[in-house]
Amino acid sequence: MLPQVLKTSDLGAWVEALMAESRVAAPVLKETSVSDPTDLKFGWEYVADPADVRLDYTVTVLGPKKFLWPPRQKLLQYHLGARAEPEAIIDHEPHVLFGVHPCDITAIGTLDAAFAKDVPDPHYLARRSDTAIIGLDCGAPCDESSFCLDMGSLYPESGFDVMLTPLGDAYFVEVATRRGEALVEAAAVRPATKQDMEAHQAFAEEKRSNFHYKLPYELKYLPEILDASYDSLIWEAIARRCFSCGSCNIVCPTCYCFDVYDEVEADLTKGCRVRRYDSCQLDPFAEVAGGENFRQDRSSRLRHRMFRKGKYILEQTGRAGCVGCGRCERACVAGIGIKDTYVQIAGRQ
């Protein structure tokens, strides 16, 4: 489908039309700092009023991951007593994620790969296959913490159904899939003119000039650079500041480690098995029942996370474990940044 153009003033009507068909989630303003009115905190929420949608957002505190991969998800239910008859709970309904930035599109691709490879996980994949993604291109970096250009997540080639590019008072609308075509049918679009296409190209050029590399090396060297740093004292040095609080895991758009536990209903007739986000930074993460803990040192846990993000996930899934969104750095109370860490290990053995 050739590119289309949607006037900014028609955006709300489109969101409203999408809301009639499925649940629509989008970035909204959550909080404004009291001390600094320019410090806005955005979050992903189900849209109640199209006027709440803030496509001028920079980065959300949490990514849109929670709609595909809820913090707490029931996996199965069973009866207590003689006949357990466990059965899977796979709940999903049509979703539209409206206005997903390139880093988060890339991160969803990582989750897709992690849950689809080897043994597929239908609890995630059923939600994913029922979710349409309307991307929103970035013209400039969110802030100092982001390094999406370095991590190769700034120019996703797939993983979205529609891509919007802001062009002043209109959006350039590119359709990537058949599902995207159906979504755009509900929008008051018109075919892009030569001027629109020129404006889109100008946006792309400006985007290229606004983003700069922050790592001193190319992404392809990161796994080897990490390997060479394994025994470096740098890990202990950085870990001295770490509180092992797990905030980095909670805000990460690609973290997918989970804990599993059982719950029993109050009337003792039924139970269910639940999974919830877990954190590799917490002390008991690798501890076995007998008490042996294989990553007891904080530094070994911190190193494990940095290796997982820069090397293991990439090697396992072929997709980036870190998309350079900068959320973990912003969330870290000790000011530990994954970008700074990847800078620090360069050239160290």
Partner: protein, 282 residues
């Protein structure tokens, strides 16, 4: 991942749903270890020595447990469970006729084909005898396929020895050399005393044609590997089985990951050569 992979996976069966199994025998083996023989209610469990299953006590949770029997023993399979956590504690209350949920089998198992025609030295400490027994039973049941078989078993004290009757049978068996030791003997104990590595002195071996299968607590593993290396067993012929925190069994939840390896999927059986490279292995 393409849209096709996502859609195919969305329609796949959940890997997290246990199947039902019935307990056909249960026995309190020591104060802390309980033994179960189980039969699946549908298709029998198809497994290899060294693999493990997820055991569900409904209403309590699931725990990963090594299979301690060999597929040569028939359709039923056996587990030896140490009472150390929520699920294993609940298992104390299960008797013959009880039903449990089973997922799996998971993991790679022992590569017994590589050991065929070779000598096999088993070194099992404490609960390490459970996963080791799956291979010991396999090797003894297919005795002609293997060379010299030596079985070293150690426990803290005589009361903690597992499979005592079977150990006595193995000791009597002429086609295998079995030595049992305890760290702290009681007054009735007449056998070897001391840590398991002391038994190495009594073992004659042709190191170049020996596989050393070493399973036990991390501290035992270190010293037993050292003995095996000192006797000249090559690193890739020293085999171990690692214990890790596990929640999913299918390489997703992240708990059992050591560097780039998921113990639940790529292990739990590794060679010392592999463990050494992992660094965080032991």
């Amino acid at each position: 991942m393409t849209q096709i992979d996502i859609e195919k996976g969305a329609a796949a069966a959940s890997p997290y749903v246990p199947k039902m199994a019935r307990i056909v025998a249960a026995e309190q083996m020591t104060e802390t270890e309980r033994f179960f023989r189980l039969e699946m209610e549908g298709e029998p469990l198809v497994y290899e020595p060294g693999q493990f299953v997820g055991v569900t006590v409904f209403g309590v949770g699931e725990a990963p447990i090594s299979i301690c029997s060999s597929p040569t023993q028939g359709d039923a399979f056996e587990l030896t469970v140490r009472n150390v956590g929520l699920v294993t504690n609940a298992l104390r209350g299960f008797e013959t006729g009880g039903r449990l949920g089973i997922r799996g089998p998971f993991g790679n198992g022992f590569d017994y084909d590589a050991m065929k025609g070779q000598d096999v030295l088993f070194v099992a400490g404490g609960l390490g005898l459970a996963p080791t027994r799956s291979l010991i039973r396999y090797v003894l049941d297919k005795r002609d396929d293997f060379g010299k078989v030596t079985i070293l078993v150690g426990a803290r004290d005589p009361n903690l020895l597992l499979f005592r009757e079977e150990l006595a049978e193995w000791v009597e068996q002429s086609d295998a050399d079995t030595l049992v030791t305890v760290d702290q003997p009681d007054k009735d104990w007449k056998g070897n005393v001391g840590v398991i590595t002391r038994l190495f002195k009594q073992v004659e071996m042709d190191a170049a044609r020996t596989y050393a299968v070493i399973v036990g607590p991390p501290v035992m593993f270190k010293f037993a590997v050292l003995e095996a290396l000192a006797r000249g067993v090559p690193e890739h012929r020293i085999i171990c089985s690692l214990e890790r925190h596990m929640k999913c069994g299918v390489g997703k939840c992240g708990h059992c990951q050591i560097r780039d390896v998921y113990v639940c999927r790529d292990g739990p059986v590794f060679t010392y050569e592999q463990v050494k490279r992992l660094r965080e292995g032991i």
